[in-house]
């Protein structure tokens, strides 16, 4: 799959996980992994970008005597998910168009 397209979708996947409540790096990967393959090195830049675009906030909290970073979705993050779902209707139309052309050419 085109890597930019995949990353764009993974961003929304991460936001979706966060709609169930704040979470941390390892848990986000674990929550996604049954359905979506995401590596640690892929998640890091995604979190960073979502933070800089204001889709999530980060807070370090104590856990077992150490600090762990917790990520929380913002209103902008929720909007981002809605946008993606709206875009998807467009993508679906494009997909159908492309698929149809292929069938006719066979």
């Amino acid at each position: 799959m085109d890597s930019q397209l995949k990353k764009g979708m993974l961003e929304v996947c991460v936001l979706k996980v966060l709609t169930k409540g704040e979470s941390y790096g390892y848990k986000i990967i674990s929550d996604l992994s049954p359905n979506i393959e995401i590596s640690e090195s892929t998640l890091y830049p995604i979190l960073k970008r979502l933070q800089s675009s204001g889709c999530l906030t980060v807070e370090a909290k104590e856990h077992n005597g150490r600090l762990r970073k917790y990520y929380r979705i913002t209103n902008l993050g929720f909007e981002r998910i809605d946008e993606f779902l709206k875009d998807w209707e467009q993508i679906d139309k494009i997909y159908k168009f492309i698929a149809e052309v292929n069938y006719e050419s066979i």
């Binding site: 790096g25 390892y26 892929t42 830049p45």
Partner: protein, 184 residues
């Protein structure tokens, strides 16, 4: 290799990211490793899953490169140690070069002062000569004026030359300051 050694080695490959980002990345992986170990995966297996520090660093650097705006990525500073050593070896030569430059400047100043002083004294002297031989006096007067004018030119030239010397010195000091503070 334990997690601390792993992270230390990983950090050593991340200098292209810059210090702040380097810290963030290490924080992220340190947290991840501990969380995995806490969840019951043995430390050794956690580190094996991540790949060697070099492999992980390559992944991190390439992800950063394709994911972020290019201006956020700093140029690698791999040559910094070589730069420090090279610059240090050059110190005696730099000092010698500066000494030559400044001695030239001093001789310029001395020449200009000499010419003007000599010129003025010769002008005064020429009036006395005029009493003896008017022609010789006028001739001496003319030469003296010429010499003092030359002295003025030399003064202007040496002033410009001194400014240039100061500029060069400043640049050299700045280059050294930059090398020793950033490279270290």
């Amino acid at each position: 290799m334990n997690q601390y050694e792993y992270l230390k080695e990983l950090r050593s490959y991340l200098s292209p990211l810059g210090r702040i980002e380097e810290d963030r990345v290490i924080e992220y992986y340190a947290e991840l490793i501990v969380d995995k170990i806490e969840s019951g995966i043995p430390e050794k297996e956690v580190l094996t899953q991540l790949g060697t520090p070099r492999q992980l660093a390559d992944k991190i650097l390439s992800e950063t490169q394709e994911y972020e705006e290019p201006q956020n990525i700093k140029e690698p500073k791999e040559l910094s140690v070589g730069r420090i050593v090279g610059f240090s070896i050059l110190i005696p030569f730099v000092i010698t070069a500066l000494a030559i430059l400044y001695s030239v400047a001093v001789s310029f100043v001395a020449a200009s002062v000499g010419m003007q002083l000599g010129g003025v004294l010769t002008i005064i002297g020429s009036f006395f000569v005029m009493f003896v031989s008017f022609g010789a006096g006028i001739c001496q007067f003319g030469v003296a004026i010429f010499v003092s004018a030359l002295g003025l030119f030399a003064a202007y030239g040496s002033w410009k030359f001194i400014l240039l010397c100061i500029k060069i010195t400043q640049k050299i000091f700045k280059a050294y300051a930059k090398t020793y503070t950033k490279g270290a």
